[in-house]
Symmetry: none
Subunit: 168 residues, 2 copies
DNA sequence: TGGGCATCTATGGGATACGATGGGTTGGCA
DNA sequence: TGCCAACCCATCGTATCCCATAGATGCCCA
């Protein structure tokens, strides 16, 4: 299974376009973002929506959409809870088409949520990726590293041995 | 199972390239770093990221990637906690492609973290290996030896006797 | 048992394809 | 008819690939 990994910072041009990092495009292609052809539900394009907890955008291909579906099917039909969640999860989703040069255009609403302008940072999270305003991302990342350290300690405590991935 | 062992010091050339020690390449090949073919998640290449606690880089093949996945499984999808950990674990990872001559190019971000320039030292750690600035590694090694000695004393206390593996 | 040869690894450099960017142009829709 | 989105090009810096060299190692044969 392919994963989105690494971080890349690209420029947002005057038209609001930004290149998706080539490695991410590669993963999307395999995942079936259906780049152009109406292969998947999206009919071509990537799924992108404001992250619920952070000033960032979540994005991914078909598998991301499937995950959202799976999350909803876990809830009973006709429940108000489900409807609310559906609105929250689907209501803000934008399907961004990838042009011939591997770029997308970020809608005003999405740019506003993440306060994007000038440059944007793409960060891989494995199954999906996020889009951040560079400085905001640095702060978030610093915090995330700290938590990862704590998390690792926890694991170290209940593992037999061996070295941890992020160990040092 | 193959392991990364020994230390090697190679030169970083003007283009930022450095040869991976042949023995390590051998281990990576068996581990399935998928050198070139889009066989694994990496689509070819090794996983490399800044060590959290030391000025060094951790690197390895597919098995290292699996370990990262293992850390994330168990966390519910779409939780902010998972996203944060993903950023720390995947966001810092770089997939370094091994060229036809067995070399990799170290990105600026990674070189900065480990203060690499001129020469770099590869250290085998069993399932993964690290990349250090030579002097920094010497200092670290000296310290590690001291600790190993202490550790050995502990072991000696509860062993029948005999000679210790790491003597010297 | 010593010399010579075939390999392999580590490096340096040149040539090239690809990714990221900036702009112009066309077609559609309001 | 004015604005925006999709498309097409051209440019440029850099990552990749290929080739050549040098030193070290191990092997074969005289």
């Amino acid at each position: 299974m392919d994963r989105f990994v690494s971080t890349f910072t690209n420029k947002l041009d005057a038209k609001g376009r930004v290149s998706i990092p080539a490695p991410f495009r590669e993963v999307l292609a395999r995942d079936g973002y259906s780049g152009g052809q109406p292969t998947g539900p999206a009919g071509g394009g990537i799924y992108c929506y404001p992250a619920l907890d952070t000033p960032a955008l979540d994005a991914g291909g078909e598998s991301l959409a499937s995950k959202i579906d799976a999350l909803l099917t876990g809830l009973s039909d006709y429940s108000d809870e489900r409807d609310q969640l559906s609105v929250a999860l689907y209501g803000d989703v934008h399907i961004l088409k990838i042009d011939g040069d591997g770029r997308i255009v970020l809608p005003e609403e999405l740019k506003r949520h993440a306060k994007l302008e000038g440059e944007v940072t793409f960060v891989g999270l494995g199954q999906k990726f996020q889009i951040w305003q560079p400085q905001a991302f640095e702060a978030y990342r610093a915090d995330a590293r700290g938590r990862a350290r704590d998390h690792r300690q926890l694991f170290a405590g209940r593992r037999s041995g061996g070295d941890e991935p992020s160990g040092g």
